[in-house]
């Protein structure tokens, strides 16, 4: 067993670290403060080909691995969790299901533009009455001649408004329960598809989070993604992959808070010495560092398994559960180490603590991750 990165992965890490520090970090506080989607960062990310990292070159991707993709989300999130989730939602929740479940025509139509970043992607599963119980879908899709007609609404949709391509789940046959759910590809600007209110959030405030509204929205029959009635499977498989992305985001947030806290506790002097010299600081930081490293191994192991095309559902759940709870713990303690300064927006740990919380909630709450892990344990 080898824990070293390959030369390719090491070169990628060198690039994405520099990109994150030079291009992403300077905007992080500003887009949080202004609740502004970082379109200028999207342009820079397009330039280096970050929007299709694990997708084969034949579909316009970079031909890289899921491990590289998680490294990208981690490194972006180390400085800015908003930028991290923008890439994660795009790649894991829109590009990946089209690549994994799409027909050849769908792949050729959508993947090149998604991988180049010309189009951003999004995913709509959650509804006002279908959260953790995703099977309780109320959005409907009815076949009318050569078109599907969609009605209903989706909430808390990441990248909404800025994305061009949306993976939407809807009931095609209510009598069949989860087997009556199907997945569709819906493009922005389709008549009958509009955006509702933009959420005001605790964290990841630069991320666009909106409601999607479908009122007699007609899409071509050929935009069914996967099999008729296979939507719930598409959603669950997609979320398995998405969880690795969110785990990487949580890991990045935790690492960012560690870096800030090491720097601050070395500089900050109380009682005549740096607060990093106190054993209380050292022991707590040692524990946190151990958890961050453990989280990284879980994240990379889950990504490695996805690349190896072996089952990784429980691995992804463990990575997300552990990384998210680690991010919450590290950022909360980081604020404590910074004392009063940490509670202000003068220092980034305040933002990091607000950003960390969502990682315990979206793409399956920590409770859902425990259900997935226990499900495998007691099957």
């Amino acid at each position: 067993m080898n824990f070293d990165l390959t030369k390719t992965e090491a070169l990628f890490l060198q690039m994405i670290r520099e990109f994150s520090d030079k291009e992403v970090a300077p905007l992080a506080a500003e887009i949080d403060e202004q609740e502004r989607f970082p379109l200028e960062t999207v342009e820079k990310m397009k330039g280096i080909g970050l929007f299709g990292i694990p997708i084969p070159v034949q579909y316009g991707g970079a031909g890289g691995t899921n491990l590289m993709y998680t490294m990208a989300v981690e490194e972006l999130s180390r400085n800015c969790a908003t930028t991290g989730v923008m890439l994660s939602a795009h790649t894991s929740l829109c590009v990946a299901p089209i690549y994994e479940h799409g027909t050849e025509e769908q792949k050729m139509k959508y993947l090149p533009k998604l991988c180049s970043g010309e189009w951003l992607g999004a995913f709509g599963l959650t509804e006002p009455n279908a959260g953790t119980d995703a099977s309780a879908q109320q959005t409907t899709a009815v076949l009318d001649g050569e078109e599907w007609v969609l009605n209903g609404n989706k909430i808390f949709i990441t990248n909404a408004g800025y994305a061009h391509v949306y993976i939407i789940f809807a009931m095609t046959d209510k009598s069949l329960g989860t087997k009556g759910i199907s997945a569709f590809i819906v493009e922005k600007d389709t008549p009958g598809f509009s955006f509702g209110k933009k959420e005001k959030k605790l964290g990841i405030r630069g991320s666009a989070t909106c409601e999607l509204i479908f009122e007699n929205c007609r899409i071509p029959k050929s935009n069914l993604l996967g099999k008729l009635g296979g939507g719930f499977g598409v959603a669950m498989k997609t979320l398995d992959g998405g969880r690795i992305g969110i785990a990487a985001q949580a890991l990045g947030i935790a690492q960012g808070a560690m870096d800030e806290t090491v720097k601050y506790t070395k500089e900050r002097k109380q009682f005549g010495k740096s607060i990093s010299a106190f054993q209380n600081t050292q022991f707590q930081m040692a524990d946190l560092e151990t958890k961050v490293q453990a989280a990284r191994l879980l994240v990379r192991s889950a990504a490695f398994k996805k690349d190896a095309k072996v089952p990784y559902s429980a691995d992804a759940a463990m990575a997300k559960l552990f990384a998210a709870e680690t991010a919450m713990e590290v950022t909360t303690k980081a604020v404590q180490f910074h004392g009063g300064y940490g509670y202000t927006r003068e220092y980034p740990v305040e933002r990091m603590m607000r950003d960390a919380k969502i990682t315990e909630i979206y793409e399956g709450t920590s409770e859902v991750q425990r259900m997935v892990i226990a499900g495998k344990l007691f099957k």
Partner: protein, 260 residues
């Protein structure tokens, strides 16, 4: 158009420390990077490639580890990479280095040769201009800007201590480039994925066109007498006096030290 960019792998001097006892660099754990001025030079070459379809070759003289830096150059967009590596090149000063590189350049087609202004580990700024002498080419150093319309003439902005000179030149030409003028692009993800599958040509002293006596330690007239860490200066003396008194004071201090 053919462009050859000479690049060097250097220790990241922002992270380097000096052993106070021996006066030598502590290289352990210090990351190796592409020399910043050279990276600016590569960026200039790649911009010309983007606009006019140039063929960009990168070349370096160094130990086998310099392979990683050449992969970085390929991932940024270079078309061909050559590593000059041979024990016979070892111990080279700037003259022997420029002779080796010039020997390699004689084997290549070029319209423009680009080097960085200077390397952050040696700071001599000599290798580029020396190469142009060996090759009998004109050179423009300290290049801070370049305009080209695809014709036969380059318009080059050269930085001087007083300001800038705007020069026109034909080709072939050797340019030494300032990092600050050409912010390098990032490696592309696809470029990175493909970089280690591409060829880096290994050239030994036998492959290049140069008299072997001009290579390595033998070809290096520079002898290092002593290397030492700069000690801390003592705090200066502060005088609060009128300008007239200051003139007298400075003159008397300079006389005291036999400078005047």
């Amino acid at each position: 158009m053919n462009i050859v960019v000479c690049i060097k792998q250097v220790p990241d001097t922002t992270e380097i420390k000096i052993n106070p006892v021996t006066g030598t660099l502590i290289r352990d754990g210090v990351p190796s990077i592409m020399n910043p001025d050279d990276k600016g030079g590569l960026e200039l070459a790649l911009r010309l490639k983007d606009s006019f379809g140039a063929n960009v070759t990168v070349i370096t003289m160094g130990p086998p580890q310099a392979d990683d830096m050449l992969r970085e150059a390929l991932a940024m967009g270079a078309d061909r990479a050559i590593l000059l590596t041979d024990k016979r090149f070892a111990g080279a000063d700037t003259l022997a280095t420029s002779n080796a590189l010039a020997g390699a350049l004689r084997m290549l087609d070029y319209d423009i040769i680009i080097t960085g202004r200077q390397a952050i580990d040696g700071d001599t700024a000599q290798v580029g201009p020396e190469m142009s002498e060996h090759l009998g080419l004109p050179h423009i150093s300290y290049v801070a800007g370049l305009e080209y319309d695809g014709g036969k003439t380059l318009r080059v902005k050269k930085e001087t201590e007083e300001g800038y000179m705007l020069l026109e030149t034909g080709m072939p030409i050797l340019l030494t480039v300032l990092a600050s003028a050409f912010k390098p692009r990032y490696m592309s993800v696809r470029g990175i994925v493909e970089a280690y599958g591409r060829e880096v040509e290994i050239w030994t002293a036998d492959k290049i066109d140069v008299d072997e006596s001009k290579l390595g330690l033998k070809g290096s007239p520079t002898k290092v007498f002593k290397a030492f860490a700069k000690g801390l200066k003592q705090a200066g003396e502060v005088y609060e006096v009128t300008p007239e008194e200051a003139v007298d004071l400075i003159v008397s201090k300079l006389k005291e030290k036999y400078i005047l």
